[in-house]
């Protein structure tokens, strides 16, 4: 195409979007790093300085880090365990003409308001929900809301579709002749699954886990509604530091730390995928 060579047109097309990304995402993230070495101003906000105090101070929010770093991997694992059979059903067992419909039904609730979906569990787990039903059969004083259980349940519920999709994609791409070959060579159904299907679908599991884990690192709504004051995450600490106690430099240090953890996770993921070169394409979103 003749147009391909006109750089000015390309710049005009991409320019406005690029300005949004630069001014509202890239530059502010650089500023966050600078702030993280600063000091808190008298009325909150930021005064320039160069100190590592904010990073050394992170231990004072240690509980939020501990909660997040324990619950997020656990939630991701549970999510993967629940999602795998579902993805397998959709990719292998579901009738072909229903498949599109079934997939739409999976993704639509994920896109619906997360706030309301988690709020629904507050209704279900709250005192007038399941606990009042348990009372009818004689189990009194069961507390479900504001527990780790409630937060884990919310995490699985909130991110299940995001886990199902990548696993579905990797299972759907799987060459069915490999399964026949495995059966022809005398492997049983379980052995075929363990030695052929599962290893070939691992990139999908890895992609799903990466997406879910990264989003859980910044989770706010689930611990805020289902964890009460008891189970709080780094995301809740960030909201507090930036909006309530207005200690921006400390908040910036916390933000830099979680972004560092996310980047490290992505690095591990890339390494895992590079080790499986031929499957790299399909696992990428």
């Amino acid at each position: 195409m003749a147009l391909r060579r006109q750089k000015g047109v390309t710049a005009l097309l991409v320019g406005p979007a690029a300005a949004f990304f630069l001014l509202l995402l890239v530059l502010p993230l650089v500023v966050v790093v600078i702030y993280s070495f600063g000091e808190r101003g008298p009325a909150g906000g930021y005064t320039p300085a160069f100190t590592f105090d904010n990073y050394l101070n992170i231990a004072s929010r240690g509980q939020a880090f501990l909660n997040t770093l324990m619950m997020a991997p656990l939630g991701t694992l549970l999510c993967a365990l629940v999602a795998y059979p579902m993805a397998y059903y959709l990719a292998v067992k579901a009738p072909a003409r229903w498949r599109v419909m079934l997939l739409v039904l999976i993704i639509v609730p994920f896109w619906a308001s997360q706030l309301l979906r988690i709020y629904a569990w507050l209704l279900i787990l709250g005192n007038r929900g399941i606990p009042s039903l348990l009372e009818l059969v004689g189990l009194e004083d069961v507390r479900l809301v504001n527990t780790r259980f409630a937060v884990l349940l919310g995490m699985v519920y909130g991110y299940l579709p995001l886990m199902i999709f990548p696993i579905y994609v990797s299972l759907e791409k799987l060459d069915k002749r490999l399964l026949e070959a495995s059966a022809d060579l005398g492997a049983g159904a379980w052995r075929t699954f363990r030695q052929v299907t599962l290893p070939l679908s691992l990139p999908g599991v890895a992609t799903g886990s990466l997406l879910v884990f990264i989003l859980l690192m910044g989770e706010f709504i689930i611990p805020a509604l289902l964890g009460g004051g008891k189970v709080f995450f780094i995301g809740n600490a960030l909201v507090d530091l930036f909006l309530q106690s207005r200690n921006w430099p400390f908040g910036a240090a916390v933000a830099v730390s979680i972004v560092a953890i996310m980047l490290a996770t992505i690095a591990v993921y890339m390494r895992f995928l590079l080790g499986r070169n031929q499957l790299r394409q399909e696992a990428l979103i």
Binding site: V14, F21, L122
Partner: protein
């Protein structure tokens, strides 16, 4: 296996259905069924705070959808013409914007706006004296932050449609002496239309539903999700369920429409774009 799948669908939809069911509860408590009634819908629509928040959310959602869809479509067309490191860098940025949690986007945009306002306000004061307009958080900042995260979604959707375009149609148009703009208007644009419309619906929905980003940059202008969140904090009432049901009805309708636009004729390719 089939039973497991059925159980998953129940797990996904039952909680949403409960909100809607209990919005019709006559009683005062959210989960204590006292008979059917629509009075909480009347109460919700007579509540000035809820109505103001609803209007804010609609305005923010419409502006976000218009800006994100138009700028995102242009960017997708531009990216198609790029190659080498600028292309790779842009792709990286788009994925970062999609993958980063809302809290981080909230912080980044909060800092960007506050820094800009701190620089601009003394300057404006110097220019206009006491009558100077003071820049502060409000509707425009929410719209800006929402456009940022929806741009990435729009770019991915439009681009996956662009990648599936039949090149021979474009070549045919050029062979028939159409100008580049003519080819775009008469061949490319009509083929992109479903993706553009789907992008519009999706970015409106995502903006309409967003809580965490708006929480950071809305200032005094509460959006509907912020109003719902603070109501939940004050106590669960059927009124919250009624407002929630309205939000769910709007967003589920738009989401399903967008899904069908994306699926239309593209078959399995739509499925990949969805993961955005």
């Amino acid at each position: 296996m089939r039973w497991y799948a059925a159980a998953i669908y129940v797990f996904l939809y039952l909680p949403i259905a409960l909100i809607v069911i209990f919005s019709f509860n006559a009683g005062k408590y959210a989960m204590d069924w006292q008979g059917f009634s629509v009075e909480w819908y009347f109460k919700a629509f007579a509540n000035p705070f809820a109505l103001k928040a609803l209007r804010t959310s609609l305005v923010v959602g419409l502006w976000t959808a218009v800006l994100a869809t138009s700028l995102g479509t242009l960017a997708a067309l531009g990216l198609e013409r790029m190659s080498g490191w600028p292309r790779r860098a842009s792709d990286g940025l788009i994925y970062i914007a999609i993958m980063v949690p809302g809290v981080v986007i909230g912080i980044a945009t909060l800092i960007a706006f506050v820094t800009a306002f701190n620089l601009a306000n003394p300057f404006l004061e110097g220019l206009f004296g006491d009558a100077a307009p003071r820049l502060a958080m409000g509707l425009p900042t929410v719209i800006g932050a929402h456009v940022l995260f929806n741009l990435a979604v729009v770019i991915l959707i439009v681009r996956s449609r662009l990648a599936g375009l039949d090149r021979s149609l474009i070549e045919a148009s050029e062979d028939l002496y159409a100008t580049p703009l003519g080819t775009f208007r008469q061949v490319v644009l009509p083929m992109l239309a479903p993706a553009i419309l789907a992008s519009f619906l999706l970015s409106f929905t995502f903006s309409f539903e967003d809580f965490i980003i708006a929480f950071f940059v809305s200032g005094p202008d509460s959006t509907l999700p912020i109003y719902i969140f603070s109501s939940i904090r004050r106590g669960i009432t059927p009124e919250v369920n009624a407002i929630g049901s309205v939000v769910l009805a709007v967003s589920l309708t738009l989401l399903i429409m967008a899904q069908f636009l994306l699926r239309d004729r593209t078959g399995s390719r739509g499925a990949r774009g969805d993961q955005a």
